[in-house]
């Protein structure tokens, strides 16, 4: 009953692939690649797809699947495949383009053949054709669940649009960023090799600073194209990028100077002000009068009073604590100092008001003279009190 029998030795069967079968297989493979490109590109256009079942098909629908043909995509795919060289692997790269013109590659789909894995026993005209249909159905289903699908549904001319690029050659995966995922959509065996469909997609959608010793947290929307960064006048500007959900330009927009922050400062920390609660690092607990201790030596010294990175000037703080006043995102200009003050008050016992209102020393000395004079004039009175007390003792 099994449809696919166990593979037989290729030596017996390789010759059995007739010229007609080979021609058919070539044709099927070509249309599999062309239809794959259509499915992928159409799934990223931002709209819901709906095609109708047709019970009385005239036989023009490849793989018995109603896939629309967009002329532009068809032309792109055909021109990529007809460049004279090998036709596969055919890659469809999906990338995001912001309104400013910055781009970020989101995923890379590939259709290819592994010639080393052959199954000479499968029937080309029937089995291979039907399995290609199943593979395309899997592609339709899988294109809806990778992260770029949701992004594509939210695209718009004011924020970003999703674009595609079709080329033949080994998939270029380096521009998918660190930690990208790859997976196989499906594969099928043919007498000339195993046809596969796979995808690699970006997992880090949030633009974040690269780990380095540089204390700068400067973040650019063209982070992934460092060679083009100097063209942009305002390096801090990320406001046009919809992906940078955790870093908004407002946080540092007041100042055009490079903000200087501790190297361990984590701009992506979920809790605002959380760095206030951590203890300062031992090498940096120098005397509080040195205001630049938090700035690494290699950073040029600047007046940073307007940049919000100020060491505390309050000598009453305990030594192991270094206060960092941060200008934080979303906060009003004074809100953070309130919290700083509150924290300082909690850090050590508050000063008694009695001490705070002490008069000057000279006044205190004058007071003493007056008091001594008063005591001397009242000396007789004190003597009387003592005598009375002595008498009272005797009565007891």
């Amino acid at each position: 009953m099994m449809v696919s029998g166990s593979p037989q030795p290729p030596s017996l069967l390789s010759a059995r692939l007739s010229a007609q079968d080979k021609k058919d297989l070539d044709k099927f493979t070509k249309f599999l690649a062309l239809k794959s490109a259509q499915i992928i590109v159409q799934s990223r256009m931002g709209e819901k797809i709906s095609t109708r079942c047709n019970p009385e098909s005239s036989g023009t629908d490849w793989f018995n699947l109603a896939i629309k043909d967009l002329p532009e995509v068809l032309a792109e795919a055909k021109s990529a495949m007809n460049k004279g060289g090998p036709r596969l692997p055919l890659c469809v790269e999906i990338f995001l383009k912001t309104a400013e013109g910055d781009t970020m590659v989101l995923e890379n789909w590939a259709v290819g053949v592994k010639p080393e894995m052959v199954d000479p026993s499968v029937r080309v005209t029937y089995t291979v054709y039907n399995r290609m249909g199943i593979l395309l159905k899997s592609l339709v289903s899988v294109t809806r669940v990778t992260p770029a699908y949701k992004l594509s549904r939210r695209q718009g001319p004011d924020s970003y649009v999703i674009c595609y690029k079709i080329y033949v050659g080994e998939p270029q995966l380096t521009n998918l960023g660190e930690g990208y995922n790859s997976m196989k959509v499906g594969q099928l065996s043919t007498p000339v090799g195993t046809i596969y469909l796979s995808v690699a997609y970006r997992t880090k959608m949030t633009i974040s600073p690269q780990p380095s010793n540089d204390s700068s947290i400067m973040v650019k929307s063209d982070h992934f194209r460092p060679e083009s960064s100097p063209k942009h006048g305002r390096p801090n500007s990320v406001d046009s990028d919809p992906l940078s959900e955790t870093i908004k330009s407002g946080a540092f927009a007041e100042s055009l100077k490079k903000p200087r922050l501790p190297p361990d400062f984590d701009p992506l920390a979920d809790i605002p002000f959380s760095s206030l609660l951590s203890l300062g690092k031992p090498p940096k607990k120098a005397s509080p009068s040195v205001t630049d201790t938090l700035v690494p030596d290699d950073t040029p010294t600047q007046d940073d009073s307007d940049n919000g990175n100020v060491t505390p000037k309050c000598p009453s703080l305990s030594d192991d604590f270094i206060m960092v006043d941060l200008k934080t995102p979303f906060a009003g200009s004074n809100a953070n100092t309130d919290l700083g003050l509150f924290y300082r008050e909690c850090q050590s016992a508050p000063q008694l008001e009695a001490f705070a209102n002490d008069p000057p020393v000279l006044d205190q000395v004058g007071d003493l003279t007056k008091q001594l004079e008063a005591f001397e004039t009242n000396l007789l009175e004190y003597d009387n009190v003592i005598t009375q007390l002595c008498n009272a003792d005797n009565n007891n």
């Binding site: 709906s50 095609t51 079942c53 047709n54 629908d61 699947l65 109603a66 289903s141 669940v145």
Partner: protein, 218 residues
């Protein structure tokens, strides 16, 4: 029967039951449906085209694809809502299993009924969870969406292993393999069934077992 079977487990909120089941079963049926066969003469037939459409879920951050066949969708909706009601009703047990079973019929001699032989079964075990606020609901929308993503990838993986499916029949035996009642599409014969069982029943059962065991050992 040595039908291959796949079992998925999911924890969802009551509202999400219908969509969670539909997204997986529709994806399976999309792969297991062919275009309508149209016979011209014996031995010669043309195969219709399968259309598909995207469905956005209301209660899950998720989009899935199904065959664009109104009647197939109705069949699935009817069966799934029966399961959903049993699961979520006032005295609903809070957990249960719904199955999508593909089978082929085998003709037998009178007076026996036609024999149904399953060849592929998809089970989906659901456990209902209660959410306390909108924040938890939002997290659950995303989490269930991620879990369904895994399931869809797994379905695609299974479909591309090219395991056994019934042999293509000739015209007279077509309805032993395919459901030919749909006007626009031709799925392999399938049926849906469900069971619901709560944790209470399980504990009573195990208590009884324990009691009987103890009685016997005395």
């Amino acid at each position: 029967m040595n039908a291959r079977s796949q079992t998925f487990e999911l924890e969802v909120e009551g509202h999400q039951v219908d969509e969670a089941v539909a997204s997986i079963f529709h994806t399976v049926l999309f792969h297991r449906s062919l275009g309508k066969f149209c016979y011209k003469q014996e031995g010669s037939y043309s195969v219709g085209t399968v259309g598909y459409e995207d469905v956005d879920c209301d209660f899950i951050d998720f989009t899935y694809v199904c065959c664009s066949s109104y009647y197939l969708d109705q069949t699935l909706k009817r069966e799934i809502s029966g399961f959903s009601e049993a699961l979520r009703g006032n005295d609903g047990p809070g957990s249960g299993q719904i199955s999508l079973e593909f089978f082929q019929k085998k003709k037998t001699r009178w007076p026996f009924h036609t024999e149904c032989i399953p060849w592929e079964v998809w089970n989906l075990r659901l456990e209902l969870i209660k959410l306390n606020n909108e924040h938890e609901r939002q997290l659950c929308r995303e989490k269930v969406g991620e879990l369904l993503t895994e399931k869809i990838l797994y379905v695609a993986d299974v479909m591309n292993r090219h395991d056994y499916v019934p042999k293509m029949p000739n015209q007279s035996e077509l309805d032993l393999i395919f459901d030919t009642t749909y006007p626009d599409i031709q799925p392999y014969l399938f049926k849906l069934s469900f069971t619901t069982s709560g944790p209470t029943t399980v504990s009573v059962g195990s208590t009884m077992k324990k009691l009987i065991k103890e009685t016997l050992s005395l």
